[in-house]
Symmetry: C2
Subunit: 190 residues, 2 copies
Amino acid sequence: MRVLGVDPGLTRCGVGVVDGAPGRPLRMAGVGVVRTPAEAEIGQRLLLVEQGIEAWLDEHRPDLVAVERVFAQHNVRTVMGTAQASAVAMLCATRRGIPVTLHTPSEVKAAVTGSGRADKAQVTAMVQRLLRLDAPPKPADAADALALAICHIWRGGATNRLEAAVKAAAARTISPPRTISPPGSKGTLR
Amino acid sequence: MRVLGVDPGLTRCGVGVVDGAPGRPLRMAGVGVVRTPAEAEIGQRLLLVEQGIEAWLDEHRPDLVAVERVFAQHNVRTVMGTAQASAVAMLCATRRGIPVTLHTPSEVKAAVTGSGRADKAQVTAMVQRLLRLDAPPKPADAADALALAICHIWRGGATNRLEAAVKAAAARTISPPRTISPPGSKGTLR
């Protein structure tokens, strides 16, 4: 399975491609950053993000795109750009029929370091080790995109299936769902 | 000048097309809502917003797209979807080379009612009057999109040029700019 991880941002959008499967060695297929100039108009910046993501999809043909889930609580100044860049990434993938999954930063940290509160250096060190790289991945801020891809390969869509079940249950009734099937089962989802 | 106003949202994205020029009568060319199902996956919803906006651009060929500026402060639950839908609208326009401007809700209210704190009923009443409609625009929540288009026709890109100047000045120096040209002048912009 080949996963493109996207750490969304308008100024710097980290991208990393990892090949792997649960229980098998991982391999980095590519890493980089899509940049847009801060002084450009917002529409132009979104267009540059789109073109950058499209180029990565063209070159690496991932089976899945894993995008960092953006929360509104953090850093109000940058969160809108992050949300907008993530929308572009999800749109590009969906347009090609490539499934998209979202993972929270703490899920990603927990997946690669064992702790949801790991710091950036720890995440980078583990990404380097797991991908058996001679040096930390460059550019440095693309390590998170690789970590996202690794997180998805190991966790799979568990989070998303669970979320989909919760959402579907919430749509059916106003009261919270009493039981939710474990991520593996398919019985009550949808 | 023909303006497509977009009141962004993932569940309901209001769209309204207005023809006009400052000091001349306004004419409504179209109004509607692009809807996406709440239970669909986010990528799919963004794709539906894109297809909806593209259809409106195809049919009405606006000279400009005016999008409501989204703020992170309001309603944390829905703001991410709003930001993402607005990104798609801006992307669709920019891809076609159509200029995009952003207007805040209070700018829009002030433009059509004279007060930045006008309520929804007041905005709808003024939109109906200014466009000389026999009844309030339907669907009701598309009135804001028409108001956005009217706001742009009357205000022009003043807000954006001012913002661009501030942004450019901020990029040049860390200290805030001392003087900013009034919106009408072109001297120091860019």
